[in-house]
Symmetry: C2
Subunit: 235 residues, 2 copies
Amino acid sequence: MPLRLLLLSSSRTHGTDYLEHAREQIDWLLGSSPRRIAFIPYAAVRFSYDEYEEIVVKGIGGDHEVMGVHRFDEPVDALEKADAIAIGGGNTFKLVHDLQHFGLMEAIKERAQQGTPFMGWSAGSNVAAPRLCTTNDMPIIEPASFNTLGLISTQINPHYIDAHPDHHMGETREERLMEYISLNPESSVIGLREGSMLKVDGAVMTLEGSAMARYFKEGEEPREYRPGSDVSFLL
Amino acid sequence: MPLRLLLLSSSRTHGTDYLEHAREQIDWLLGSSPRRIAFIPYAAVRFSYDEYEEIVVKGIGGDHEVMGVHRFDEPVDALEKADAIAIGGGNTFKLVHDLQHFGLMEAIKERAQQGTPFMGWSAGSNVAAPRLCTTNDMPIIEPASFNTLGLISTQINPHYIDAHPDHHMGETREERLMEYISLNPESSVIGLREGSMLKVDGAVMTLEGSAMARYFKEGEEPREYRPGSDVSFLL
């Protein structure tokens, strides 16, 4: 089965409900038959996994069943019973720590590569890339390694923003990503502004949504991509 | 020899030159005789270590000699020739990676604990704490571990800021630090606003500078400290 991924910058945009801005693409990902979605809530830190599950049920439940993997004694067992996977946003370090701790990193990678529809938002999109290196989050817990799912070969920076940083001695997001590529010239980054997302259908990756994305590669000028652009070269 | 540390939130404040706002405290740290300062430039990413050294010479050189440890075949050898240590700001992950890589983490810890005057700013203050967990920086490179110098027992968050974050879907700095303490209830954090710094003289730690600091501990309301406050309980 071909790869089938949906990687969102954020869970919502200004003035939309949870995952509402990606309704069309989520319908594409999950198809017309009801799915059992294994939901990974481990990016949550200061709210419960149950609360998180509830929010996601409201957002994408409908005809589909959302199963929080935290309800299973062995979270990895949830994948056996599921025919879709969703990873929610929150703190990326907490998420990566727990995915590794529960043996979910390898198991999810395998299932997604076999064609199980996979969606993620924010931290959940971040981990679809090879490494957690381009997260915006604070490293509040140490994961066993920075390696993540590697379902695509470029790095994702969710919530990409052009504005100046929140204090005048800090770097802009662009400066941070330029630092990343200068230390990692073999890698590249796609900065997904809120409202934008990547859709992967087999060997084709498209930029979708309402916002443009900015691409960074060492030795090249940053490039802008419009929604609808074919960005398969980043797969 | 008693511990002698100076830990700055930032290298400058609005309208001051490099390290100028801490002139009085730096004079206290280094004393009246000329010092040979081992300077650690490894937090730099997109500018050279030589350039960094030059900036620091201008900032705190004067009567003192500033030796960039990058000039030594074995950077750790620079410590033998030095009677003070300074760690500059930049990217904390790059700094921690290189300190561990060159065997400097243990060597600096030992020297500072023996009473060698130590100063750091931004990332350089961050690593004086037990772990890198409360940095604001992007994890652009994976260090061998998150463990840092542990010269004090509380975590430092440099460039602490009250403002709302740079995009409306993100967390405030306070929310990020609350996430840290909720996952690490045995730990605590002092958020150093720009212009503030910690001065450690033996068993006494004082908040210095022109800005207040905010303290976070799981299960307690965040607390504000004014410059001049004795915060030795965080040592």
